[in-house]
Point group: C2
Chain length 224, copies 2
């Protein structure tokens, strides 16, 4: 079977999205490491490099418009392109959350540690994995994997709840812990939001593959 020019362009678009996902994952990994290892310089690097992700999103936008003009994709091809156009901003928001985490890391790195990290690295690992698997599900057109990612969101919500309650206890017992506990609380919330973006991407994939809009059935947990 001869490859259409459209297939080539769709392949390039997927590659570009994978590149962006890799960059976002790297930013997020650095942000979490900056928190856990108290590395202010690393956190500052994350903040500085956010513009790379922003430019990548614009590049994908431009590529999509070019592709539509040139190849005039129809039906499923057009839906694939539009889905890529929905996924890129989700990734960009993950990167924004990484920046939020990095900002808190800067503040936390300058004061004594509040407590050892136990649940936070776990929620971070799970959130990162959800986004990574969601992107794989898109690239491979794998609705089953996408559904698995969606199912994992409850676990992340549970971990965030646990962190929230624990930090609240710290704050109420000793007022001096409040600024640090607040910073950790916002970090946990950012991670929970990142998992939500993984869920959103996965819902897009299920919708694309199964042509069934499940996107907003799972919107119980708030997200911005």
């Amino acid at each position: 079977m001869v490859e259409r020019p459209l297939d080539h362009d769709l392949g390039e678009l997927k590659k570009l999205l994978l590149t962006m996902a890799g960059e976002v994952e790297r930013q997020l990994g650095m942000a979490v490491r900056a928190v856990v290892e108290r590395e202010v310089a690393l956190a500052e690097q994350v903040i500085a490099e956010d513009s790379v992700i922003d430019r990548r999103e614009m590049e994908i936008d431009h590529r999509i418009i070019e592709l539509i003009v040139r190849e005039k994709p129809m039906a499923r091809d057009l839906r694939l392109v539009m889905t890529a156009g929905k996924i890129a901003p989700e990734l960009e928001r993950v990167a924004d959350n990484a920046v939020d985490i990095a900002r808190q890391a800067v503040a936390l790195g300058r004061v004594p540690p509040l407590k050892p990290f136990i649940t936070l690295p776990l929620i971070a690992d799970e959130a990162v994995a959800m986004v990574r698997d969601a992107i794989s599900a898109f690239v491979q057109g794998d609705a089953k994997l996408a559904r698995e990612v969606i199912a994992r969101d409850d676990k992340v919500d549970g971990m965030h709840e646990q962190i929230f309650r624990e930090l609240l206890t710290y704050m109420m017992e000793d007022a001096r812990t409040i600024p640090r506990a607040l910073a950790l609380l916002l970090i946990s919330r950012s991670l929970e939001r990142i998992a939500d973006h993984g869920t959103n991407i996965s819902e897009q994939v299920v919708y694309l593959v199964e042509a069934e809009d499940i996107r907003h059935r799972h919107s119980e947990g708030g997200a911005d």
Copy 2:
């Protein structure tokens, strides 16, 4: 001059976006009222009605794909359509923030008030106005108005800072205020994020009108 079928469809798309913006503004207004007037039932209504906004976003997505397939818009028309496709998810995120505010309103409505509201209604008014003006700027193709909206974001950030500092003082002086102060802090943060979405929409408008990508120059304040 004869109106093209495309012009009719673009007009319909703009109308649909205006409808969505009106619905989102209503949700947001109700959420803020639920906080200030301590109306738990109103907050619960906001949470329940979020699905209306979600469905509206999907309707706009479908309409855009239909329009591209049927009318094959080119150049500026295609960019207008793609911009509408970028704005709808921003509005949906404003609605998600309204739900976040409503959730905190439910919690706050069940405990005694912490303090009278002074700055919170002001930041809410400004955030709502920014989103409203951003949508007007899109519908009217008014880059000047869009730039004005972008300039107002610093004011909102300043108000959020002020609220944050004040609530921190409450928390540190009296541990019993912590859960309530935390809820108010998250509400203020949601409002600040809503203003960010107004800014994002405005940047899309400037980009569309002036064909110049300023979108990510103003991304100093974190946003998700």
